[in-house]
């Protein structure tokens, strides 16, 4: 029923009197609300509704819920965010971790080259990467996947064997071959590398837990096979960044494609878009034992993740931005991995691009990787 305004209330006769207006009229002393004031009031009202709803969670979860996109944060807000995350990590792993947010070095432009003639498929890079970057151990996420190909087929993905030497390897009895490392005039092998190679019979627990577990021993390289490790190709034209519905992944000025694990909604569209299988999803809660945590972390790199978000190789951003090689480069026993600044004409990576014939994977997709493969012999 529509009530009529009472005649003794002069305020109400001056404007439209919809139903219920007389009950919600402003107090006589209240100043008229301008638009800005109204917005402030409305947002305060909305906040007062939202905050109690969130008060069940702790303060850090609330701050996480209310935060803005990383690119909209002020330096102070980034500091607060990092503090919160460090406290989280301390609580989770019982260790002091440092999470830096060091930006890209001015004019740096990273590039990577991998020598297919040298790689022996030992998967040391895979395991070093897991440790360095705090990838979950169970089920294990591995940012690097080493594919075994037949020499007479070339790089032919449907023929690839990613589980060579594992319990389900259909090629279990493939014979191993004599391996002689080609001489590399640029970076002669160090003592440790030579020792490994002289041992020839390279035994290593190769297998990934994700496919049934076990630590099968298997000698590599196998006869008639060659190995192509694949991780994020750090495309200049990354399809994953293009498709992300919330801008949770982007290309940094030095070329590294990064993910903000606290902004990702876990839709996995980037995984559908990536032609290199470089993106990995935390299907369950990530498991890393406190003793295995690498406490030197970068916000855009190896800091701890939670379930339901996507992660990927970042050229070890916590190392490369501090002038170190990515850990896969350091650990490679045959010196197959090369990394450097493409803008530096004296760098090894530039030497390779100028003197070797390089190939990139899936050239026809126009992703323009920063990751090159080459044959030194």
């Amino acid at each position: 029923m529509k009530k009529r305004p009472t005649t003794n209330d002069s305020r109400l006769t001056t404007h439209d009197s919809g139903p219920g207006t007389q009950d919600s009229g402003p107090e006589p002393s209240a100043p008229a609300l301008d638009r800005r004031g109204f917005i402030r009031l409305a947002s305060a009202a909305a906040a007062s509704l939202a905050i109690p709803a969130l008060s069940a969670c702790d303060e850090r979860a609330r701050a996480q819920f209310l935060r803005r996109h990383f690119h909209e944060l002020s330096p102070e807000e980034v500091k607060g965010l990092v503090k919160r995350l460090e406290a989280d990590a301390k609580e989770r792993f019982g260790r002091d971790c440092t999470i830096e947010t060091k930006p890209a070095v001015q004019d740096a432009s990273f590039g990577y080259a991998l020598d297919i003639s040298r790689c022996i498929g030992c998967r040391r890079c895979v395991h070093a990467c897991v440790k360095e970057n705090n990838e979950t151990r169970d089920p294990e996420i591995q940012w690097i996947k080493v594919l075994e190909f037949h020499k007479d087929h070339g790089i032919d993905f449907p023929e690839a064997n990613p589980y060579y030497c594992g319990p389900n390897d259909e090629d279990q009895n493939a014979p191993k071959t004599e391996y002689k490392a080609p001489e590399n005039p640029l970076s002669p092998l160090n003592k440790k590398q030579k020792a490994i190679l002289e041992n020839q019979d390279i035994q290593y627990p190769l297998y990934q837990k994700a496919d049934g577990g076990g630590s099968n021993q298997c000698a590599v390289p196998r006869q008639g096979r060659f190995y192509v490790p694949i991780s994020c190709q750090q495309c200049r034209n990354p399809p994953c960044v293009k498709v992300c519905p919330v801008k949770a992944t982007w290309k940094e000025p030095d070329g590294i494609v990064v993910v903000d694990y606290d902004w990702c909604i876990g839709c996995r569209y980037c995984m559908a878009a990536c032609p290199y299988g470089a993106r990995h999803f935390n299907w369950g809660e990530p498991q890393v034992a406190p003793g295995d945590i690498n406490p030197k972390m970068h916000y855009l790199g190896n800091r701890p993740r939670r379930k339901g978000v996507v992660e990927k190789c970042t050229f070890c951003i916590q190392r490369s931005r501090n002038g170190q090689y990515p850990v896969c480069v350091e650990v490679c026993p045959v010196g197959a991995r090369k990394f450097g600044d493409l803008e530096d004409p004296e760098s090894e990576i530039r030497y390779i691009l100028e003197h070797k014939r390089v190939l990139i994977l899936k050239n026809e997709l126009n992703t323009r990787p920063r990751f090159f493969y080459f044959y030194s012999v």
């Binding site: 139903p19 819920f65 996109h69 089920p139 996947k145 594919l147 032919d156 993905f157 449907p158 023929e159 690839a160 990613p162 994700a210 694949i230 399809p239 293009k242 498709v243 992300c244 519905p245 919330v246 801008k247 949770a248 902004w263 990702c264 909604i265 876990g266 839709c267 996995r268 569209y269 995984m271 559908a272 878009a273 990536c274 032609p275 290199y276 299988g277 993106r279 990995h280 999803f281 935390n282 299907w283 369950g284 809660e285 379930k307 339901g308 978000v309 996507v310 899936k362 997709l365 126009n366």
Partner: protein, 406 residues
């Protein structure tokens, strides 16, 4: 307030029903409870309770989402002849098409929500508080067009019913432009959803320009197939007057849509098998047991047989007028398109994966339970909306103060 009265009248209608009505509601509520429990498990454990893994990172949930976008888009199938050609027999049922569209979109939203790893961050998709990646992300566009389509249909239906409830009629000059707007909106939701797959150069099976036309053609079969069966149920239970003429007209339109769908499929098959490039592996996964490691062909062959069979049933006037063969045709189309737009799209699209690995995927029990729960929410919503909408639109339930008659 009249609106309160409108809501009260709707609630009264929801609470009045026969034995079958309550049995149906109880059945749906049980499935919803089971789905909710399974989803609670998924929330605490993570998506590890599904069968999806990095190799096949979209599965049953997104397959159902894709199918239901088609069902939602098909409301236009009824709206076009009803309003554009002013064809009376379909007009009285077009409102049901819109209700189906609303329910289907709600199911779409729910399927996306259960699929994402961080539903607590869904506000990152919202304007102002989030960071919707427009114009570059097709998923971003899908959020926009699905919401637009949802609120458009919700607005039209609510206004029509509320106005009819109050005054016995609605303002056509307000409704018709909105209905006409919903036609391109319907086309846009399915086109954008097709583009979502189509734009991925990493997945050759999806990266075919024929995909969007095929999506539209199959949607124009599956949506009306659901409606044809619903109309017959409602004719019995709610006394809704739907003429046989309307039903067989819809069936005829479906036959044309199915012809286009099958023709486009054939065009794709020809290209794959004749050129016989390495991209044929995906089509082989669809139609055969690839290296003995895939299973989707067990569903795809029966689906294809059903689609062709339904096309023939709906093409021949005698069988599309016969109520038994028509219903058989509807079920066959429903099955055919459900497989084609669900697992028949998702599995070959991602098998082998981008690095050539063949991963065997079949939905887990948790995925099946959650999906059944989502479907039940949609059916429950549709049942409730129809329960209230039909008496109101027929004028049997009116506001107390409303003028009598038309």
């Amino acid at each position: 307030m009249h609106f309160v009265e409108f809501v009260k009248a709707s609630v009264r209608l929801w609470l009045s029903g026969g034995r079958y009505y309550w049995a149906w509601m109880a059945f749906l509520l049980v499935l919803i409870a089971s789905g909710a429990l399974a989803y609670a498990g998924q929330l605490s454990e993570g998506l590890v309770v599904t069968s999806m893994r990095d190799q096949i990172s979209w599965g049953f949930y997104i397959g159902n989402f894709t199918f239901l976008v088609g069902v939602a888009a098909a409301a236009v199938m009824l709206v076009v002849p009803a309003y554009v050609y002013d064809w009376e027999p379909i007009k009285e049922v077009a409102i049901l098409g819109e209700l189906l569209a609303i329910s289907a979109i709600v199911m779409c939203f729910l399927f996306v929500t259960v699929d994402i790893g961080r539903p607590d961050r869904v506000h990152h998709l919202f304007p102002v508080v989030g960071s919707l990646n427009l114009p570059s992300s097709l998923l971003g566009w899908d959020v926009v067009v699905l919401n637009l389509y949802f609120f458009l249909n919700l607005g039209i239906v609510t206004y029509m019913l509320y106005a009819t409830f109050l005054t016995g009629h609605y303002n056509k000059s307000l409704v018709i432009p909105l209905v006409l707007l919903s036609i391109p909106a319907a086309v846009s939701i399915h086109t954008v959803t097709a583009f979502l797959y189509n734009g991925l150069a990493a997945r050759p099976f999806w990266n075919a320009s024929i995909l969007a036309p095929r999506f539209l053609a199959s949607a124009f079969c599956s949506g009306p197939a659901v409606l044809l069966i619903l109309f017959q149920i409602l004719r019995r239970t709610n006394g809704l007057k739907i003429r046989d003429e309307a039903l067989s007209k819809i069936a005829e339109l479906m036959a044309y849509a199915m012809f286009i769908n099958l023709f486009l499929l054939g065009a794709e098959m020809f290209k794959e098998y004749y050129s016989n490039t390495e991209h044929i592996v995906f089509t082989k996964v669809l139609f055969s047991s690839f290296h003995g490691k895939t299973d989707v062909h067990y569903f795809m062959w029966p689906a294809l047989v059903c689609s062709v069979g339904a096309f023939l049933l709906f093409l021949i006037p005698a069988t599309r007028r016969n109520v038994y063969t028509m219903n058989a045709g509807c079920l066959m189309i429903y099955f055919g398109v459900y497989v084609e737009k669900g697992m028949g799209l998702l599995i070959p699209g991602q098998t082998p994966d981008t690095l050539g690995e063949i991963f065997r995927y079949a939905p887990s029990l948790a995925e099946l339970r959650v999906s059944a729960g989502v479907f039940s929410v949609g059916f429950l919503l549709f049942t409730l909306m129809v329960k209230a909408a039909i008496p109101i639109s027929l004028g049997t339930v009116r506001a107390a103060a409303a003028p009598p008659g038309h």
